[in-house]
Symmetry: C2
Subunit: 219 residues, 2 copies
């Protein structure tokens, strides 16, 4: 009981610090903020931060891993579904976009301070980051095998292009380069997949009857 109660309280403060970290890192950037900023934001004493975390870095590490592991799970789960590649990519793009919509500060921190900071924090988590690319590449690999996708590029290449496009969109939202309203998010989900799958070019003057996908795609 006491253990549970104490544990419960402990988890709360820890959570408080983690959440405060996200807010502060998002606002000021990891290097520009002090540990005391995080403590203040969380409403706890400076020292308590070091009771729950070994270092300032560990706060960011924890924030990142917590969320990134969820994403890796989603990618793996999506890939295992028996649906067209297009739908898988839509699910992945949708998850990332929704993550941003649901908690923009968290995604800002993850992208700006980790994923795009490959020289500092990204370095530590390169392995994890790579796993995401690999998961996406696997989706493409399967799609190439079934003939849904061309084989003209390697799955790795396609994964980088796809993920890069999405991350650039989020970056655009984060820094007000692109409009970031509800409609924009929904549109972006569709369009990023559409662009990567179908390309920007007009295909035929008249163009493809939409058709299919209801039809057998091979054999």
């Amino acid at each position: 009981m006491s253990a549970a109660a104490r544990h419960g309280a402990a988890v709360d403060k820890r959570r408080l610090i983690l959440d405060a970290g996200v807010r502060v890192f998002a606002r000021q950037g990891f290097y520009r903020c002090r540990v005391s900023d995080v403590a203040d934001e969380a409403g706890v004493a400076y020292g308590l931060v070091y009771h729950y975390f070994q270092s300032k870095d560990e706060i960011l590490d924890t924030v990142f891993l917590e969320r990134w592991d969820v994403m890796l799970g989603v990618i793996a789960e999506v890939d295992a579904r028996d649906v067209p590649a297009r739908e898988k990519l839509e699910a992945v793009a949708g998850f990332i976009v929704d993550s941003y919509r649901y908690d923009p500060e968290l995604m800002k921190v993850i992208i700006v301070e980790v994923t795009r900071a490959a020289n500092s924090f990204g370095r530590t988590h390169l392995g994890k980051i790579r796993e995401a690319y690999a998961g996406i590449a696997e989706i493409v690999r399967k799609a190439q095998a079934t003939g849904e996708h061309k084989r003209s590029v390697t799955p790795q290449f396609a994964a980088m292009a796809f993920y890069g496009a999405i991350e650039q969109l989020l970056t655009g939202w984060i820094f007000d380069i692109l409009p970031a309203g509800e409609e924009d998010f929904e549109r972006a989900k569709r369009q990023v997949v559409q662009t990567v799958c179908e390309g920007l070019e007009e295909t035929a003057p008249r163009a493809s009857a939409p058709s299919s996908d209801l039809l057998p795609r091979d054999a």
Copy 2:
């Protein structure tokens, strides 16, 4: 004469510091290195750095702007050519890839420390960075006007996706996520444009051209 000689020498030292900065920033990251590291690398005294630059930041600013302005010039020049959009995009992608091939350390610094560090340095240069997106968007806009590109996405969106894909590739090379040999560079130039223009999906044989957006987009 003396003026010229002195000026020549001055330029040399300044250049020396700038180049040393690139090397040190690329190796250690901007925040992780000290001004003395740059001075040592350049083989000059600590104080001289402050003779030529106001601050540590100004070194990075200078490095970035010097190169970015070249890129903005290239984009504008390419856009003005009377050639298919496809060729324009190839020229832009080619320029960026070649920049990396020619001076990977410089591009690493620009991307890792500025372009992808929108929270710190990127902030200062957001305007400049935006100009590049706008330049690419302009290429797409014209292509849509001539019917080369579909109008299903906004030029801004297309520009972000295109640039994002390229930057992700460079990041892949920088951090050894993608193989980075001569052939890879050449292939990447072609494939990134091909992917963005034509898409990943197989179109011809059987094809699963699902959906839409080829349908009434407006009017």
